[in-house]
Symmetry: C2
């Protein structure tokens, strides 16, 4: 629907050209190798227009020619593929126990994927920002040494992030009102590429969507805290102030266990990683606070015991799955996604989580057959949010915000 | 964001013209009376283009000239206003105890607003469809007698409606798998105008948005059943299968009262109209089932007693408000709307509902200050869903789907 405050803007020929450049670029991304005639036939654009658009994309080194093919009906044609060799999109993630960095080329191919242990003291954002800036500098330097221009950098944070890149609240990091975008921009010496800050789940879902092609998709971060990245009708749902997707604190039972947020019966108190570890491995830290750096080995141990059929671990996973299904039923009833992808620790444990979660979802969704919502394991690993940060940079290119020509524009 | 399966489509000059026609039409809607020069100055379109577009809109009788003005700086100019006199958009609603019909002209002015008592037996859709068809025929005939062409008709139903206009489930009506669009199209003798069927809340929120100009808005239907119509970032959120907005069956407490859906502790079991009447007027039907036709007088009585300060009624309203705020906190945490409008019976009782609801929302939203979500009384009355049905027809016009020219196109 087009409404008064979000309706069509005046279209002029520059808009038409930007739209058509994006159309041709996306066609090459999904159909390469392909010829100019293929593009014209599929898009409905006339051949002269396609030629001019392809010339522009070649000048910007976004597309390149790979030689003639004769292995087809009709005349031999010059085939096109994505180039993008001079570009890189960078994403970083900060979490309670690690930092990650991912760089992608224009085709979404990984150029680097780094993970560093991180043990910044909670509530000390200065230390975290210094670590993030160091990692960003190393990633950007590596790209530049390879002759690539960095198109943008996005940082993923497990918390509430407003539209200006201020972290309102990141409970796991002990952050409150941290202007991460401003601080990191300063720490990096005011870089020329765009620097953005975004909630981790909101970014991870962009990376998941590039793999799943689903227009109504939710990605759940599974960790000590739980968040949801939501895409509705092909577009990210951030909410009026950017605070959508606070999945972990959905209240399931007013008489439930105490949550770290001070309320009772939140999903996180049942299905956060701390709750799972305490239920599945009762010898571990039921009295003492768990350190985030111990989470990984504990998940490995739970996975091993689940495969071995350990009764206590299986019961704990079934219980987590049931609560997860309960919370997903709220998503199904309110926003009716086609697919909910389980990320983070949920991914590796999904064989034991999905059956009880799906049963609970089926019993609680108002529409028949879970309203069509499927629960699946995420296709991504723990670099999901950083990959999503880089994907967000690429999405801007796909939408027609192109880097400038690298050679003089062709007279054609 | 533009993604692979929802990205830009090839733009050609017909698209540009349709977009620009919609831009000019929306400008006239919001700024009339205005001149061609005003439109050019605001939209950035050149004057020759604006002249050609205005001529087209005048040929379609969507815009008309109202004479020269000299009451401005510069040369006198021919002023334009919305015309639309030959058109009408029609919306109908079927609910448990009434039918409504609304017709709007292109400027959103009401041409008719009818309400009929309806006491169709539950689970007898044939009877309801005959009543709806009779009301539709009367509304369409009246518009045609006034020389107006009906641009479309949309029917609002309190239930789950799929993309083909099949009512999957409407518990209040006792309907299950009713192909309302097909049956009504047949009953009306295959009309030439488009006929659509949609969930009542999804339509009401369109009408609310035309008044509130909010891009992130939720409209709550307040009746025996409770639904939510959601607009995110200016676009309706229907979900993958069209089943979004099932607000009434959000589970608030697993130990709560039994709901009509068979589950426990749903919002509707606390804040549906039946629950309010039982709590506020305990002499009424606590043992016997309430008839929907009695709801209206009971709401009037509750309103009267609340104004008189009756303790039991005020306590019941506070309790409903608290549960409503609890459920709205799920919306705030998941989709973070800017505004939640209380419709149906909630509207008239909102002075007593909003304070406890807002307090509960504040205590339960993860982001500070309710995440920016405001609770307000709807600006609409019980014709909201029918008005939304007509609005949906107008939205298609605003998006550039124009009726054909009524005169030969001008050579200009």
């Amino acid at each position: 629907m087009i409404t008064r405050d979000s309706g069509p803007q005046p279209a002029d020929f520059a808009d038409v050209r930007a739209t058509n450049l994006a159309v041709v670029l996306r066609h090459v991304r999904t159909h390469a190798p392909c010829s100019r005639a293929d593009i014209a036939a599929t898009t409905g654009l006339n051949k002269a227009t396609v030629s001019s658009l392809v010339t522009d994309l070649i000048d910007r080194r976004l597309v390149r020619e790979v030689g003639m093919t004769e292995n087809r009906i009709g005349r031999p044609a010059m085939m096109l593929v994505l180039d993008g060799s001079p570009y890189a999109a960078v994403g970083l993630e900060i979490n309670t126990d690690y930092l990650t960095a991912v760089a992608l080329d224009l085709a979404g191919v990984r150029l680097l994927s780094w993970r560093r242990a991180f043990t910044g003291a909670p509530g000390q954002p200065g230390q975290a920002i210094a670590s993030l800036a160091a990692l960003a500098r190393r990633a950007v330097s590596k790209m530049e040494r390879e002759g690539r221009q960095v198109l943008g950098l996005t940082v993923a944070v497990p918390g509430l992030v407003d539209a200006d890149g201020v972290v309102e609240l990141a409970a796991g990091l002990g952050w409150h009102q941290v202007d991460l975008r401003k601080s990191l921009t300063a720490a990096l010496g005011e870089p020329t590429y765009p620097l953005m800050v975004e909630n981790d789940a909101n970014l991870a879902v962009l990376a998941e969507q590039r793999l799943s092609f689903t227009a109504d998709l939710v990605y759940l971060t599974g960790g000590a805290s739980l968040g949801a990245g939501i895409i509705c009708d092909g577009r990210p749902l951030r909410g009026a102030r950017g605070f959508a997707g606070e999945f972990g604190h959905l209240p399931l039972d007013p008489a439930g266990p105490l949550c770290t947020c001070g309320r009772r019966g939140c999903l996180e108190a049942y299905a956060g990683l701390g709750a799972l570890i305490r239920a599945a491995l009762p010898d571990v830290g039921i009295e003492t606070a768990l350190s985030p750096s111990e989470f990984g080995p504990h998940v490995d141990e739970i996975h091993r015991l689940a495969k071995a059929g350990d009764g206590q671990v299986l019961a704990a996973l079934t219980d987590v799955g049931r609560h997860l299904g309960h919370a997903v039923s709220l998503l199904t009833n309110l926003i009716n996604p086609a697919c909910v992808a389980l990320g983070g620790y949920f991914t590796v444990l999904s064989p034991w989580l999905i059956p009880p979660a799906t049963a609970e979802l089926a019993s609680r969704s108002v529409a028949a057959n879970c309203g069509g919502t499927r629960l699946v394991a995420s296709a991504l690993d723990s670099s999901a949010a950083a990959a999503g940060g880089a994907t967000r940079v690429l999405d801007a290119i796909d939408a027609g915000v192109l880097p400038p020509p690298q050679t003089a524009p062709s007279p054609l």
